[in-house]
């Protein structure tokens, strides 16, 4: 099972992660912060993590799951 963690304290709500996710896993909440909409679809490509200018997203594999 994959994990997508978003550090809201570092996120500046630029929207790059939401716009360029090839599987449309992320969406904006009412404040504009990215939230995980559909974790099942996540392929673990890490493009959101790589393109985040604020180091606010981490994609990892959950060992326990």
């Amino acid at each position: 099972m994959k994990r997508v963690d978003i550090y809201r304290g570092w996120c500046k709500r630029c929207g790059i992660c939401i716009a360029f996710c090839p599987k449309h896993v992320l969406e904006a909440d009412k404040d504009g912060f990215p939230t995980v909409k559909d974790l099942e679809q996540c392929s673990g490509c890490k493009l959101c993590e790589i393109r985040c200018p604020d180091f606010a997203i981490v994609v990892s594999k959950d060992e326990e799951g």
Binding site: W10, C14, R51
Partner: protein, 275 residues
């Protein structure tokens, strides 16, 4: 939220306040992430890396990372870096400059560092505008573009940074955008491992100022613009001039071998001893 370890946390200075000062969606953050990732992948020790920067938005980059860092005067990153490389040749010297920093006020240092072939990996983050001072036009602002200091359109032609450095004699020249993450990683790795002067021009978005004259409001739109207006070196060979108008050619533009400045200096020293 459970703590997950992020690679960059290993390299950030714990004393610095985060989030960093760059605007939301700024391309410099994406480049900084890539640089840290590649330094970690190659396996340099923190003590063996020297990061030198000048003044500007990009000049803030070394402030955040836990290497040997130097925040120098405007445009003079390469001069300080040349001195470091000559004094301590075993160190990996990296310079981070912006287009306003490295190509205008530091333009002469850029071409002469390339001419001397000092073993420095230099990165020019080209956002086509003076970002920190309020969006004035820089040497890489496109012709006709409206900026704070060119409200009726820029009357000057833009510098092609990569071709300038290539002509000056750099052994490795590459150009990429921050959208093309795989190419960005590949070029950073090649520049860091090159024996000689290596320069990578990184086209990055300045959402706050450059975005205005492009008429693009969001960071995502600006990165989509980078995607749609870039052509790889291989594909550019098949296209004619009209098809290439307004496009940015990305990829490895030059990769050649030449004795480095340190090697030449060593040669001089040993010759003198024989006399």
């Amino acid at each position: 939220m459970r703590e997950t370890s992020h690679l960059v946390h290993k390299y950030l200075r714990p004393t610095m306040r985060f989030p960093h000062i760059w605007c939301p969606g700024c391309g410099i953050g994406i480049f900084m992430h890539a640089l840290i990732r590649i330094i970690d992948r190659i396996g340099y020790s923190k003590d063996d890396v020297v990061l030198v920067s000048g003044i500007g938005c990009s000049g803030r980059l070394p402030v955040y990372v836990d290497f040997n860092t130097l925040h120098t005067t405007h445009g003079r990153a390469l001069t300080f870096a040349t001195g470091i490389k000559l004094a301590k040749p075993r160190l990996k010297v990296i310079t981070i400059m912006g287009d306003g920093d490295g190509v205008s006020i530091g333009g002469n240092h850029l071409i002469h560092a390339a001419r001397r072939n000092v073993e420095i990996a230099s990165f020019i983050i080209n956002n086509q505008v003076y970002g920190m001072t309020g969006g004035q036009c820089s040497p890489t602002t496109p012709y006709g573009a409206r900026t704070t200091s060119s409200p009726y359109g820029n009357p000057e032609a833009a510098f092609d940074v990569s071709r300038l450095v290539e002509a000056a004699g750099a052994t490795f020249v590459g150009r990429t955008t921050v959208y093309h993450t795989t190419l960005l990683d590949r070029l950073i790795e090649k520049a860091l491992t090159k024996n000689g002067f290596a320069m990578v021009e990184v086209i990055a978005q300045c959402v706050t100022y450059a975005g205005r004259w492009l008429g693009l409001a969001s960071p995502a739109e600006m990165m989509a613009w980078q995607r749609d207006n870039s052509v790889t070196v291989e594909k550019a060979k098949e296209l004619n001039e009209t098809e290439l108008a307004g496009k940015t050619i990305i990829g490895v533009l030059a990769d050649r071998e030449r004795p480095t400045y340190n090697e030449e200096c060593t040669k001089l020293r040993t010759q003198e001893l024989k006399v």
